[in-house]
């Protein structure tokens, strides 16, 4: 990410120097130990910390030893100071973290064998790394609500560890503030107003909460029960909707998209997406997709491809409730269609001149395609009658 790169243009570069795990690290004033460590590929266990969100400090997993401090201190909120000496890994810290994870799983079921998040769950990762097979405490599930009230995501509160990332992303980034903590203490949970359905809240279904959720508390509906994380193929590309150009990653199994998510290296959007980008990909497999070139029935008849003559109905296609393309068109092979187009274009150019042809390119096609399209008109046909929907 180069998000803060631009700041430095007017600012003098000042650096602090500190030691993390024996490694000398330079960082800007105001950055935290967590940020400095991550920037230098030093991985500190963390659950509630998220680089795009404000610091919470609730999970206590990111504790480190600071020289001169009596107790382990969370690194997520710890401002770097010149000359600081930090230890992120040692036996004592390992044990502390182990105890913390032990407590986490005292209220989080370890049914990873059937969990959709297995493989990308942060808690699972740390439980594994710290050799926690089950809790040593009395297991009790304080949150049991299972809310499956929308086609975007499922909220399964039993897996919620109250890291609050979803609440923060909803407030600090999306600005919707559809969810917040409700209740307190052991009864504390993440709630919509009155624990009602998502649609009745201020939710805009951007799914950024799902994106930042470290456990299976929030999962896309589209992937539920469809495959394990490690079986999925992942392809990064750019969203096809608006002009922001968000990078996203599709997770597929057997050639079928199971879900989309942003990746932290997205140059424009980081880990954020909107509802269209994250959930609006299923149109691609809609049965109404055009799958073969087609000629209108009257054209096909003229060419002797169909037996019945046909005329274009006078009624506007907008007035037809559910128009069916097969009623008016017949499929043909590519050669037939392309030759027909080339023929007719050539005839028009010959008869009426190049300026009798108009081309409409597309703001949703690639640069290469638009380039070729305008070249066709300018070089192939010889006209500048060439526009696209930039203005619409």
């Amino acid at each position: 990410m180069t998000l803060t790169q631009s700041n430095t243009i007017e600012q003098k570069e000042v650096f602090l120097e500190l030691t993390i795990d024996g490694q000398t690290v330079q960082t800007r004033p105001g950055s935290t130990v967590m940020e400095a460590a991550l920037a230098n590929n030093i991985d500190i266990p963390r659950l509630c910390y998220h680089p795009e969100l404000s610091v919470s400090g609730g999970c206590r997993l990111c504790v480190v030893n600071v020289e001169g401090y009596p107790n382990p201190t969370p690194s997520c909120g710890l401002a770097c100071e010149d000359g600081m000496s930090i230890q992120t890994q040692n036996e004592e810290l390992f044990q502390t973290r182990r105890e913390i994870i032990d407590l986490f799983v005292a209220e989080h079921p370890l049914d990873c064998v059937t969990c959709d998040k297995a493989g990308s769950c942060q808690l699972q990762k740390y439980a594994y790394e710290h050799n926690i097979k089950e809790t040593s405490h009395a297991f009790e599930l304080p949150r049991t609500l299972y809310q499956d009230d929308n086609p975007f995501f499922v909220r399964d509160h039993q897996y919620c560890i109250l890291c609050g990332r979803c609440v923060r992303v909803c407030d600090e980034v999306v600005g919707a503030h559809a969810i917040d903590f409700a209740g307190r203490g052991f009864e504390c949970h993440i709630a919509t107003p009155f624990d009602g359905p998502m649609k009745d809240s201020a939710c805009v279904f951007c799914g950024n909460c799902v994106q930042v959720c470290p456990t299976a508390a929030l999962n896309p509906v589209s992937r539920m029960g469809k495959g394990r994380e490690w079986e999925l193929e992942r392809i990064k590309t750019i969203c096809g909707y608006c002009g922001v150009g968000c990078q996203l990653e599709y997770a597929l199994k057997d050639g079928e998209i199971l879900y989309a998510q942003a990746t932290s290296d997205g140059p424009v959007n980081g880990e954020m997406l909107c509802t269209k980008g994250r959930y609006g990909w299923d149109f691609a497999t809609d049965p109404q997709r055009l799958t073969s070139p087609m000629l209108r029935r009257d054209v096909a008849y003229e060419m002797g491809l169909t037996k019945e003559d046909w005329t274009l109905p006078e009624e506007s296609p907008l007035k037809v409730r559910k128009p069916n393309i097969e009623d008016s068109f017949v499929p043909v092979d590519w050669d037939t269609a392309l030759d027909l187009v080339a023929d007719k274009l050539a005839d028009t150019v010959k008869e009426y001149g190049p300026d009798s042809v108009m081309g409409l390119a597309s703001a949703r096609c690639t640069n290469e395609e638009n380039y070729l399209f305008q070249k066709l008109f300018r070089l192939g046909i010889g006209t500048n009658n060439l526009d696209h929907c930039a203005r619409l």
């Binding site: 803060t4 631009s6 007017e10 929308n150 600090e172 600005g175 392809i235 750019i238 096809g240 909707y241 608006c242 002009g243 922001v244 150009g245 599709y250 050639g255 998209i257 290296d265 140059p267 424009v268 959007n269 954020m272 509802t275 269209k276 609006g280 990909w281 299923d282 997709r289 055009l290 799958t291 073969s292 087609m294 506007s316 907008l318 037809v320 008016s328 027909l340 187009v341 080339a342 007719k344 274009l345 300026d355 042809v357 409409l360 703001a363 096609c365 690639t366 395609e369 638009n370 380039y371 070729l372 399209f373 305008q374 070089l379 192939g380 500048n384 009658n385 060439l386 526009d387 696209h388």
Partner: protein, 562 residues
């Protein structure tokens, strides 16, 4: 955009006008919200109470089409109060003295009278924007003046004086020196995934790739040479709306549409349909049988962006690589393959022979390599360099790192030119017969003509049906209740949809998104007044009336204010 999306979060003041950012560009709205949470001031100028207003420190609710008075008055106030950036004006711009005189008549009082925005709000907006004032917290930047960014979208450009509007915003930014620095600038938010790229690559009536004017003989001939010919057409072509007229008149006989749906997206649909029906040849190349496809002679199935590779250029001029995720269904092919095939076959039919291959490319990468040869702003790019974060134009040679911020130190044309602008009112004003103003736009869950989003299960679940936003008073005038049917009529047509009674629109204005084929907004919009330069139709203002289909009551004549 002159600046970067990521810079927005560090801005001290953000001025959004004519953009429903939270719904049309949610991810950019996230950056704005981050800035606001850090203490930036957010000023929103819009006729509608768009969702971003919830986060705004100042909301100027100008009557539709009157915002130009507010902008001019803001500059008037800046000069009066000495908030202009004298040093910047002296060093970096020209034409200021002439420009200065034109502002005199645009007092905030006059703007207030025209727009309904209180004088105090205009003055506050001028102060906050000019000085880059924060609401709270510390600026990310050093210096006496904070950094202010302007964000705008179609609310500014889809107007009969859209070019003037854009120039006004540029004047505003130059006046305060809020350009050429991070987190400043004049930033149009572009609505479609590759609208920037389509412009960059020359899919416009007046420019070749890289904004080289068709009338510029030297540049045109250079391109011609690369393409293996001596010269290319040097006259400006017909824009979409002009072409529809020309078609109706029989001047245009064949139209090749690639991935567009003019039946939904062009103004005055009835006229569009009439024109399209007259064509000898209408080729529609699309992924779905769009409303336009039903009028086509030939339909060519294209691959969706999820199914092909190539590059997109985003609103901040970033060229990024897209990759195929899915297999195209059936016989569907990438558009570049189809266009190439047509061109190749057309050459043969026309008996043209080329020395080198011009149409049949082995890959998009090969096309891109040719593209960069004729497009100076892309000259330093190739697919390999785009891996990762992409590159931002201008990128003029292979060492060039790309350009995050335009006009740093120097404007592209040298000195920034102040262009005097006179305020013009929208072409079609409400009158006794059509007393209301219709504004069109988008909603969060749908995109453009709805071809994709209305076929997406989750998105359509949230908003399966269209609606028109009506102010409670206007609804009460014809006894229409929330969620009930209502007919909207203009001089060009009528549509029926359900009413959503809301105070988000001011009295006298209704809002209808153009996603719904059941209630196509463009049946109503006008196509007679285009911006003289950009040829953009005035989607944002047209005169309409409402009718209650049950009682046949119609919107009454407006009561004169004052």
């Amino acid at each position: 955009m002159t600046n970067s999306i990521a810079e927005i979060r560090d801005a001290d003041c953000i001025f959004i006008t004519g953009s429903n950012t939270a719904e049309a560009h949610p991810v950019i709205s996230y950056e704005v919200i981050r800035a606001v949470k850090r203490g930036a001031n957010l000023i929103v100028l819009d006729p509608r109470r768009v969702p971003m207003v919830e986060h705004a420190t100042l909301f100027l609710q100008a009557k539709p089409g009157t915002d130009i008075y507010v902008f001019l008055a803001m500059m008037h106030v800046m000069l009066r109060e000495g908030w202009a950036n004298e040093a910047f004006i002296a060093e970096r711009t020209e034409g200021f003295d002439e420009f200065k005189g034109t502002l005199e008549e645009y007092t905030p009082e006059r703007a207030s009278l025209m727009s309904g925005v209180p004088v105090k709000q205009i003055e506050a907006a001028a102060r906050i924007y000019a000085n880059g004032e924060r609401a709270e917290g510390k600026s990310a930047y050093i210096g006496s003046r904070g950094h202010s960014a302007i964000l705008y979208a179609m609310g500014i450009t889809q107007r009969s004086n859209g070019t003037d509007m854009v120039m006004t915003l540029a004047n505003l930014a130059m006046l305060c020196g809020q350009v050429g620095k991070p987190s400043t600038g004049v930033n149009p938010l572009r609505g479609q995934s590759n609208v920037q790229g389509a412009c960059d690559t020359g899919c416009l009536i007046n420019v070749y790739p890289g904004y080289q004017k068709v009338t510029d003989d030297e540049k045109r001939k250079a391109i011609a040479q690369t393409w293996g010919v001596d010269d290319l057409p040097g006259e400006v072509g017909l824009s979409i709306v002009e072409a529809m007229q020309a078609t109706a008149e029989g001047k245009v006989r064949a139209t090749y549409v690639m991935g567009e749906n003019p039946m939904m997206s062009d103004p005055n649909t009835s006229h569009v349909e009439e024109s399209l029906r007259k064509l000898d040849l209408l080729v529609v190349q699309d992924i779905f049988p769009s409303e336009t496809a039903f009028l086509a002679h030939v339909i060519l199935p294209a691959a969706a962006s999820l199914e092909k590779d190539g590059t997109f250029t985003n609103t901040e001029r970033r060229v990024q690589h897209i990759k195929p995720v899915l297999q195209a269904p059936g016989e569907a092919k990438p558009d570049w393959w189809i266009t190439g095939e047509i061109a190749d076959r057309l050459d043969k039919k026309l008996g043209v022979e080329r020395e080198t291959e011009q149409w049949l490319f082995p890959s998009t990468e090969a096309i891109f390599d040719e593209l960069t040869k004729v497009t100076p702003i892309y000259a330093g790019m190739n697919h390999a360099r785009l891996v990762g974060e992409g590159l931002r134009w201008p990128c003029t040679d292979e060492e060039h790192p790309g350009t995050p911020i335009l006009h740093v130190g120097k404007f592209s044309r040298g000195l920034g030119k102040f262009s005097p602008v006179t305020a013009n009112d929208p072409a079609e004003q409400p009158d006794d017969e059509y007393p209301l103003i219709l504004s069109t736009g988008r909603v969060l869950y749908h995109y453009h003509s709805g071809t994709m989003t209305r076929r997406s299960g989750p998105l359509d679940w949230v908003q399966p049906r269209g609606y028109v936003e009506i102010h409670p008073e206007d609804a009460a005038a014809i006894d229409v209740l929330d969620e009930r049917a209502v007919t909207i009529e203009s001089r060009r047509g009528s549509v029926r949809t359900r009413a959503k009674i809301s105070e988000n629109v001011p009295q006298g204005t209704i809002f209808l998104a153009f996603h719904w084929r059941e209630a196509p907004a463009n049946m109503l919009t006008q196509d007679f007044a285009l911006d003289p330069v950009s040829k953009i139709p005035e989607y944002k203002v047209c005169a309409v009336r409402l009718e209650n289909p049950r009682t046949k009551q119609r919107s009454p004549k407006p009561v004169m204010e004052m």
